[in-house]
């Protein structure tokens, strides 16, 4: 009897944490200023939320009903395989259809790369790559 109570507490904790992350994701989609940042909130806080809720469900079936539901675990796996692809494609599509980033002083290394790519100058790209690598080396010193 005691064990069941502890298991129930753990399950409730998981599901509540999952619901909390979903709430944060929803708030983020409303509050954050542009497509990219909203995409961050929607695609990732939600991932952890789904993970927690599915884990809670899995534990519920395992402890209370003594039923090992492997499909729930597969659900977690596929969530983790597909969510980043969707987030990446949404971001890329937004950038290529010309959505501006919020705020003025944020750096944008990608813009430079696209310009070089359009002009098809390979040497410029080499120089650009060297510049970035040097920048990072200088910063880490």
């Amino acid at each position: 009897m005691k064990m069941i109570e502890i298991a129930k507490l753990i399950i409730v904790a998981f599901i509540l944490i999952g619901a909390f992350f979903h709430l944060i994701a929803a708030l983020g989609v409303i509050r954050l200023p542009d497509v990219y940042t909203r995409n961050h909130a929607a695609s990732k806080a939600a991932t952890l939320g789904v993970l927690c809720i599915l884990l809670g469900t899995f534990l519920y079936f395992y402890f209370i009903h003594d039923h090992f539901n492997s499909r729930v675990l597969l659900g977690i796996l596929f969530m983790f395989l597909t969510a980043p692809v969707a987030g990446h494609l949404l971001g890329r599509a937004a950038y290529h259809s010309g959505v501006k980033m919020w705020g003025q002083n944020g750096p944008d290394d990608y813009k430079e790369y696209i310009e070089i790519k359009k002009s098809e100058k390979y040497q410029e790209y080499e120089a650009y790559r060297k510049k970035i690598e040097e920048n990072i080396k200088a910063e880490s010193k």
Binding site: G28, L48, H88, G91, G103, D109, Y110, R129, I132
Partner: protein, 159 residues
Amino acid sequence: MAKQVLLNVFLGFMWMFLTTTYEPVAFVKGYIFGLLIIFVFRKFFDSRFYLYRVFSFIKLALIFIKELIMANIAVVKVVLKPKMDMTPGIFAYPTSLEKDWEITTLANLITLTPGTMVIDISEDKKILFVHAIDIKDAKAEIDGIKESFEKAIMEVSRT
């Protein structure tokens, strides 16, 4: 690696037939003994003992879970802050990984940890373009990715 796994499965079946028990348990037993044999003879294979690779994969998964939780807390902070004072931006991240699956894994891991999202990869597969929700600590983020994910992925793919 594939050679070693195949040999191990073969040894598992060998154990089954030698003991003339045809149950899954016997196969598992044989597999474990086979593992032991391969471990003893690990110097004679051209790649490293494949269990090391499995271990480093588990390590990668653990690092990823840790990063996922830490980064989620960071995003919660950003979302709940009353004043929006972060500066989103895109930074270039030169990677030293070479194989396609390594870069895919790295990109997926970066995208899954909140606060960073891969927008694109340069055509020669050397630079990842990462959108960060708060660019202020981009340098720290680059170092973090290098230290945690890239190292762990390299450890997995090392032969």
